[in-house]
Symmetry: C2
Subunit: 358 residues, 2 copies
């Protein structure tokens, strides 16, 4: 009887050991996509030394990993992530998932990227299980990086015996969106809900996040940095933090400079969302309308001057009509971002078509 017990315990232990062994993970680093420039710091959007004369806040914000992702194929049953960010606090209008976390999409049977899971953190270095109990088919994965923090490292963990193959960027062409916190991703609930990311998944084009929270005031140094890129389209969503006077003073410069350096590249101008707080805050009400009126007036002047391939999305209800689409009166929630995409997407696709960009 005693021998039988010992035998049973031994069998159990060896089963557990095999299971434990089966649960071992291997971690991989991967190429980073969703950014335009090669940078000395892999997770920075812009080389802040090369463009050292940009405003300090702008430089800091371009070290955030907004818009970046990794992509690979695997038949793993579990997906782990190990990543490090800074010790900065989570913003009051953000989740820890959007601010410092990750979300994962899997290409489904219809060939669409389908959301699969996400994890937030308040640690500087996190290691966590993100997905589990996946079936054994090979799948394509896409993992978005933190929107509002500087990512220091990222490794993806899979089953030790699983297949693993890094993939190339699944999104074609390059469309740069220069803008404020709204482009940057506040207040998406998770990285994949920032509006450039939704646009990429829906259209297959590579919308690149040049959003910088509290900024995007069209400073010349920033304009010169943007002009060093050579994308298939520029989208300018840079009205929200520019004063009405700055809109009047600076719009002509950014558009004519980009046009001069890129004679044929379409430029799309997007007005500021109407901040929900502005329906009651009388100062913001005036300011918000004046920002957009000046933006539109500058557009008209530029068209009158003969600037070609310049487009204006004339829409004052990007957030819909029910007033529920922000987190804090300024920043779209996921409802707001989806509504923005539903109106920006057909406009942008139409411009691409006009220019025979496929």
């Amino acid at each position: 009887m005693k021998r039988l017990t010992i035998l049973l315990i031994a069998i159990c232990l060896s089963i557990m050991a095999v299971q434990a062994q089966g649960k071992k993970n291997v971690f991989h680093t991967l190429p980073i996509y969703g950014k335009y420039f090669d940078t000395p710091e892999q997770f920075h959007r812009v080389d802040t030394l090369r463009y050292g004369n940009m405003p300090k806040n702008v430089k800091n914000l371009y070290t955030n990993s907004a818009g970046m992702f990794v992509t690979f194929r695997s038949n793993t049953s579990e997906l782990y992530a190990r990543w490090c960010v800074t010790d900065r606090k989570v913003g009051l209008n953000l989740t820890a998932i959007a601010n410092k976390g990750l979300d994962v999409y899997i290409k489904n049977e219809k060939g669409k990227w389908q959301y699969a899971g996400s994890k937030g953190t308040v640690k500087t270095c996190e290691e966590t299980l993100v997905l589990e109990n996946l079936d054994s088919k090979e799948k394509e994965f896409l993992v978005y990086l933190p929107l509002y923090d500087e990512t220091k490292s990222l490794e993806i963990g899979i089953d030790e015996d699983a297949s693993f193959q890094p993939l190339t960027n699944p999104f074609k062409r390059n469309i740069i969106i220069y803008g404020s916190s709204i482009v940057h991703g506040a207040s998406a609930s998770r990285p994949g809900m920032a509006y450039p990311a939704i646009l990429s998944r829906r259209t297959g084009y590579n919308f690149i996040n040049f959003g910088i929270s509290g900024n995007a005031r069209m400073e010349k140094e920033v304009v010169h940095m943007l002009a060093d890129a050579n994308p298939d389209m520029f989208i300018l969503d840079c009205v929200p933090n520019s004063s009405p006077e700055q809109v009047t003073d600076r719009t002509s410069y950014i558009v004519t400079y980009l046009r001069e350096k890129h004679p044929n590249t379409p430029i799309v101008m997007i007005p500021s969302v109407i901040r929900e707080l502005s329906y009651f805050n009388q100062n913001w009400n005036k300011r918000n309308h004046l920002q957009n009126a000046n933006w539109k007036a500058e557009y008209n002047k530029l068209i009158a001057k003969g600037i070609k391939a310049l487009y204006y999305l004339d829409n004052s209800s990007l957030l819909g009509e029910d007033h529920e689409a922000t987190t804090d009166g300024t920043h779209p929630n996921d409802l707001g971002f989806m509504r923005m995409v539903e109106q920006i997407e057909p406009f942008v696709l139409d411009v691409l078509k006009k220019h025979n960009i496929h």
Copy 2:
């Protein structure tokens, strides 16, 4: 010249003093609405001493102020709030606004509650400006309390010389929604986006939040507490955290007990949302479907037994079809909550109509 300078300084100082005086605020406490029971602790949803035999977690969660609000009329130009909560950490899938903060609605000219602003905090006691630069018309305000924390106190600050009148609850009847974290409000971006709150604003009925995160497993002690209420409708959205076996074992008890104590009160059964993670997580896939299959089977048995005024919302796409409507694979983002409301609202209104409840 010197005298003139002194005179000018004196004038300036007195103008500044008047302005400073004009900026003085008076703070008010107000009756708390959006809860059903009178409780010894004003900001608790349930008297946890009276219902002391409920599970400990359930009792703790019913101390959270989810669903509560204050309402008043004022012509103030600024709105301040001063409130205290606990020192618990913000959840990783929540903003500090939803978890520990406030949002404000104002009745607009069409008589609808329109979002006006919100503030989050990570402090235990916060005092902050919430709205400013309001016009001088008298307005009706509604301020929602934190979803996921125990509120300890709340005062609303207005201009010293502004009118101020507490208002009665603008929502009629009482509809109790018993459910999980999803009812509780995860992952709404702010308190007013929890789905019971959206339903109240849209319909004018008083939907009362009995959501308890990670719970709502239909324990008998909780059923007895719910049955002590006498609402116009019970909505049961308590499948997400109940195991398939618990659904089978406990559904008959909650429905028959409520029916026995309230022979004519309509009871609406809502299936669990299909967790987005369950499309890839094979264990959750089975579990999620089994939970709902068992819930529906229990409904059919209860109807066969002759239970009257029992309704089942037969809907497996409460979150829509694009798989984008959660923050973490389980908890709806604001896009998901709006989609849930769009499907629950007409169903509930139809049941109310059938029962001549106006």
